[in-house]
């Protein structure tokens, strides 16, 4: 396993000191290990899909059947009628898309100011912003609930959306790191032409920062789509629930209907996986940015 970080150039020298069979044996061993591990990673997904295609009521049997006798595709249609799945889906989509839009716009704007504008106290403010990443959500949970209750926002989507429109610390950090890398000449040229900072942000920086915007969008999409605790606190009535809440509620009603529940779980997972596959490059880039926070 130690071979990893080594450059390829060294492999020719080591092949002289290590016997041929050992080198290829080690490679084969690592391949086998990874393949075995990926089976462990993949199995729960396969099992979910397999269960979702079983006849309702026969999902759990002993010994378990790995491939259903008949593929009961109707489960994927039935889910929509048994619970207000379409409502949950719509709600989650509305919340997620507005949250994504807000996170992208506000975080890139604040990040732009931190990265490219000069004003006293900028770096101190940036440090304050960074350190909020370490604050546990739980500490703000109760007063936030009370605040939103006083505003009459409980059982609306607003508590889930509005805070994200004021910039999210981690995305502000990405934005600053990314935008510092763009050449300053663009801003300067635009300023000579009489443009102000807002115009520069909107017309020059944003079009150049598409990879950044994509990574923020995808991370925000994942977090909002998958969120459980905040919707649990703020949303109450059935027609306002998100997919995450709906799926858990579904379990309360149909405790034994694993096949339908797994169909629901699959349907809920598909959009996130789809987003991931479409924008994989940006996704991993965004994650890597956050890792460099440690440096």
């Amino acid at each position: 396993m130690v071979t990893t970080a080594k450059s390829q150039s060294s492999s020719s020298e080591t092949s002289q000191s290590t016997p041929f069979w050992l080198k290829y044996g080690a490679r084969l061993g690592i391949h086998l290990l990874i393949a075995l591990g990926s089976l462990l990673m993949l199995f729960p997904f396969l099992w979910t899909v397999s269960t979702s295609l079983k006849l309702p009521g026969s999902a759990l049997s002993w010994p378990p059947t790995f491939i259903p006798d008949t593929f009961h595709w109707q489960n994927y249609i039935e889910v929509w009628s048994i619970v207000p799945f379409l409502t949950y889906f719509t709600n989650t989509t509305i919340i997620t898309l507005t949250t994504v839009l807000g996170s992208v716009l506000s975080s890139s704007l604040v990040g732009y100011a931190f990265a490219r504008l000069r004003f006293p106290g900028r770096d101190t403010l940036f440090i304050a912003c960074l350190s909020t990443m370490m604050l546990p959500f739980v500490v703000m949970m109760i007063p936030r609930y009370i605040l939103f209750r006083n505003l009459g926002w409980i059982d609306t989507f607003l508590p889930l959306i509005v805070p994200e429109w004021f910039g999210v610390a981690v995305y502000i950090f990405f934005s600053r790191q990314f935008l510092r890398g763009l050449p300053m000449e663009y801003d300067e040229a635009a300023r000579i032409d009489g443009a102000n900072s807002w115009w520069i942000w909107y017309r020059i920086i944003l079009p150049m920062a598409k990879p950044l915007l994509a990574s923020i969008a995808i991370l925000a999409f994942r977090d909002s789509w998958n969120d459980f605790l905040a919707p649990l606190i703020y949303l109450q009535s059935d027609e306002r629930l998100t997919l995450a809440l709906g799926l858990v509620k579904f379990r309360g009603y149909y405790r034994t209907e694993w096949s339908l529940m797994m169909a629901g779980a699959t349907l809920m997972t598909i959009p996130v996986l789809l987003m991931f596959f479409l924008f994989q490059r940006y996704f991993l880039q965004g994650i890597s940015f956050s890792g460099l926070a440690g440096r």
Partner: protein, 314 residues
């Protein structure tokens, strides 16, 4: 914060700093816009973060059920907190979970990244595969593992019997419930991998070449080059890992609801119950502040310890 110090340092060698212009009308305008833009975040921070944190400190000295007026009760909540058996149990459960999960997932993610950094056939495919569990919605993840660990018909018991072992109650067994939740969390280990991969790829190749010229073998190169340069990433991952696992909630809420026999009653789950099921807002706020202080202390200790083992390039 060390990371902050370095970013501040980096801020100073920005190219634009070199040619400082006199404060013209243009510069004043830039300053104003800068404050306005950052003000955006600052207002949000004051309303949704700083305000609530201060407010929850105030609330923690009251008794309040949301319906009647809040009653000032001094430090009663904190006194109760120290004597509350459930708080003690939930703290123990949370610390246990953190103490097992964070080291395992950090070392695991690092090893995984080392393997995934090898230039082998199909590595891109494997990276994707190992990453997928970590983006799957927590609710879906929990439900599917609940099905796998179902005591009567679950497929986990089927495999266990295949290799000649007895069936287990898994999440319904007080002594197994926490380890099973840790296992479920470890399924998402690939989530930490990209950060480590980025760290590995940022190690300058020249350092390996220099080490090789000096006669260093692969083990030595790993321990003397890779590992020291990876310490900032490891540190970051440990810090965020601890803060995250201190707040474990969703899995326990859905899979076990704290049971069996409070074996998975984690701190935030208890806090949630006190606040939103028993409506003890004051008491729950005191719990929140205790958590805040614990996280703060842990983080400060880690930053102190970091001076001894985290290596920053100068």
């Amino acid at each position: 914060m060390t990371s902050l110090a370095s970013s501040q340092k980096a801020a100073q060698d920005e190219p634009m700093r070199h040619k400082r212009r006199p404060r013209s009308g243009l510069a004043r305008e830039e300053m104003r816009d800068g404050y306005l833009m950052v003000g955006f975040w600052l207002i949000g921070f004051l309303i949704f973060t700083a305000g609530p944190i201060v407010a929850s400190l105030g609330l923690s000295f009251t008794t309040w059920d949301l319906l009647s007026d809040a009653q000032w009760s001094g430090i009663t909540n904190y006194g109760t907190l120290l004597k509350d058996d459930l708080v003690r149990v939930s703290l123990w459960n949370t610390l246990y979970f953190t103490a097992v999960l964070v080291p395992l997932s950090t070392v695991g993610a690092l090893l995984l990244a080392l393997v995934m950094n090898m230039k082998l056939r199909g590595m891109r495919f494997y990276r994707t595969l190992y990453y997928l569990p970590s983006i799957t919605p927590a609710v879906a993840t929990t439900l599917l593992w609940l099905m796998i660990f179902q005591p009567e018909f679950g497929v986990a018991n089927y495999f266990l019997q295949k290799i000649g072992l007895h069936k287990q109650l898994w999440l319904m067994d007080p002594s197994l419930a926490k380890p099973v939740l840790i296992l479920i969390a470890l399924w998402g280990i690939g989530g930490g991998m990209p950060i480590f991969l980025a760290g590995l790829q940022a190690v300058p190749r020249e350092l390996y070449e220099a080490a090789e010229i000096d006669g260093s073998n692969r083990w030595n190169s790993f321990f003397n080059v890779t590992l020291p340069l990876m310490t900032p990433v490891i540190f970051f991952s440990v810090i965020t890992g601890i803060i995250g696992s201190f707040q474990i909630f969703t899995n326990a809420y859905i899979a076990t609801d704290g049971g069996p026999g409070n074996a998975t009653l984690f701190y935030v789950l208890l806090l949630y119950r006190n606040a939103f099921q028993y409506f003890k807002m004051g008491y729950a706020s005191a719990m929140a502040w205790l958590l805040f202080l614990l996280v703060l202390i842990f983080t400060i200790i880690q930053f102190r310890l970091a001076r001894r083992w985290v290596y920053y390039e100068v």
